[in-house]
């Protein structure tokens, strides 16, 4: 079955949220990921460390390293999941009720698997 990378972007959480509110948010994510897990579709998930991050470029033969999270917009990359789905259509159905969409956005990319590895 095709695999998809789901990148979670968001503006981050208000650090003054109360414990009860934080638990409610976690419960929403748990309910969502468990649904996908029960269907046997959730392969992996990781949080990305923040605000660490390096952006590397080579300009004029010289390597340029920029520190900090790579923020082009206000939304930074918080983490990702790898999820199986038969098609983009099915994948979009799986993410349609993700609590992440309440405050952030999801970028869904199919992982290329055909062909021999180099």
């Amino acid at each position: 079955m095709p695999k998809f990378l789901v990148l979670a972007r968001g503006a981050g959480m208000d650090p003054r949220r109360s414990p009860e509110e934080m638990q409610k948010v976690i419960e929403k994510y748990r309910a969502w990921t468990e649904g996908i897990q029960r269907a046997g579709r959730l392969l992996h998930g990781e949080k990305l460390r923040s605000p660490e991050g390096r952006v590397v470029r080579r300009t004029g033969g010289e390597m340029m390293v920029t520190d900090g999270p790579y923020i082009e917009s206000k939304e930074f990359l918080g983490g990702f999941w790898i999820i199986e789905a038969a098609s983009y259509d099915e994948m979009l159905k799986l993410v349609s009720d993700s609590p992440h969409l309440e405050a952030g956005s999801l970028e869904v990319r199919q992982i290329e698997e055909m062909g021999p590895r180099g």
Binding site: P15, R16, R17, P19, E21, I26, Y29, E46
Partner: protein
């Protein structure tokens, strides 16, 4: 546990974050010192935030509480090292989440929580600050939630907390269980705060404000901690716990499916929480072990009369009335006098109740208390004078009250205005 009782099916225990926050702050602050309460709160908040950022991707760990404590502890160590604190102090933070006391005098989480409760209710702090501090520090409530529960502005609550912590440092308050001779007085302050929390929550139960309803279960949770701990396992604590459990046992029947208020007489007593009733009666028995009778004893006895009666008619009203007389002597207040008048009406008829209630209207404390005209309306209605009853119901509706209460009073008013009344 089932999903219905707020438990966790494959998820987190209800209020886990709130309760863990309180526990972790107590454990850390006890080891860091009361003057570093802010640091304890910050690292705990950091740990919860870290969970919020990590668990959605990696899933909830097998031992959420242990995970949170390890993160909070590491943050605390980092902060202390940065501040140049000696390593001896760092070791006091321990490596393991302390277990509950084993009964052999070992110091556990519950001991730390009790010390925190006692400090938050310390008489050196202003009363309003004690309530806010208990909810924030022991209860794990957020500033906004405390403000919502007490209908105050968040800025006001935040300021109260800052001042309370300043006072803790200035007075050198310590996180400890006071010696036996100082304990009864300190315990009185604790019971005062828990009683206030419960009553605030009880008054609002079934209303639109869910945070306020949480105050009841929080007050019971804290009272259970205090009652279970050997030095504070005292009769007045059991009396207050009995009172709260017996009152709470009726909450499931206090509103019907539509969320409308149901009076004691109309409640489906099968819907009362009988496990809470049984637990309440057990604590009432243990409360009787002491020499002194507190207002909590008498109020719990009244609540027990209702809890064990199969219906309103077979309630032992003469005994309830005698208990109200005792209560009026122990803790005189216009609200107690109001409740006594209602019991009097059950014993001697509505006219006697009305005669007892009418002078209360001149008390300034009750001038804007909607339950006084509501009670008069009910008694006039029972006395067969619907027009007079309607006048009182209208007066009650002109005063502030919760929306379920408002709907109830409107329903009664409509009944009284109907031709033929009732």
């Amino acid at each position: 546990m089932t999903a219905d009782d707020g438990g966790a099916v494959g998820g987190l225990v209800a209020h886990l974050f709130r309760h863990s926050a309180g526990r972790m702050v107590a454990v850390l602050a006890r080891r860091l010192g009361a003057d570093r309460l802010d640091l304890a709160e910050e690292v705990v908040q950091d740990a919860l935030l870290r969970a919020l950022q990590t668990w959605p991707y990696r899933g909830v760990p097998d031992n959420p509480q242990g995970w949170l404590f390890q993160v909070a502890r590491h943050r605390a160590l980092d902060r202390l090292r940065r501040d140049g604190v000696l390593s001896a102090k760092l070791e006091a933070l321990g490596a393991e989440w302390p277990r509950a006391a084993d009964g052999a005098g070992g110091r556990g989480v519950d001991d730390d929580e009790l010390a925190m409760i006692l400090m938050c209710c310390h008489p050196a702090l202003p009363r309003s600050a004690r309530v806010a501090l208990t909810l924030k520090t022991v209860g794990g409530f957020g500033v906004e939630e405390i403000a919502a529960a007490f209908l105050a502005r968040p800025a006001t609550v935040a300021q109260r907390l800052v001042r309370a912590k300043r006072r803790i440092r200035a007075e050198g308050l310590r996180l400890e269980i006071p010696p036996a001779d100082a304990l009864p007085a300190r315990l009185e302050g604790v019971l005062d705060v828990l009683y206030l929390l419960f009553n605030e929550g009880y008054a609002a139960h079934g209303g639109d404000n869910l945070v306020r309803a949480d105050l009841c279960s929080e007050a019971i949770r804290l009272a259970r901690i205090v009652a279970a701990h050997p030095p504070t396992d005292r009769p007045p604590v059991h009396a207050l716990l009995a009172l709260m459990l017996l009152q709470a046992s009726r909450l499931p029947a206090r509103a019907d499916e539509a969320g409308d208020l149901r009076l004691l007489a109309e409640q489906d007593r099968a819907r009362w929480d009988h496990a809470l009733t049984t637990e309440g009666l057990r604590h009432l028995e243990r409360a009787a072990a002491g020499e002194t009778v507190t207002r909590y004893h008498v109020e719990a006895a009244i609540a027990a009369c209702h809890a064990v009666a199969p219906d309103e008619a077979s309630t032992d009203w003469p005994y309830v009335l005698r208990l109200y007389d005792d209560l009026l002597a122990l803790a005189p207040s216009p609200v107690v006098a109001l409740n006594r008048a209602i019991a009097l009406a059950m014993v001697e008829g509505p006219a006697a109740g009305i005669r007892a209630l009418e002078p209360l209207g001149r008390q300034r404390a009750l001038a804007r208390y909607h339950l006084l005209p509501a009670a008069l309306g009910a008694l006039w209605r029972r006395a067969g004078a619907p027009a007079t009853a309607a006048r009182y119901y209208r007066a009650a509706l002109a005063l502030p009250c919760s929306s379920p209460e408002r709907r109830f009073l409107e329903r009664r008013l409509t009944e009284c205005e109907r031709p033929g009344g009732r």
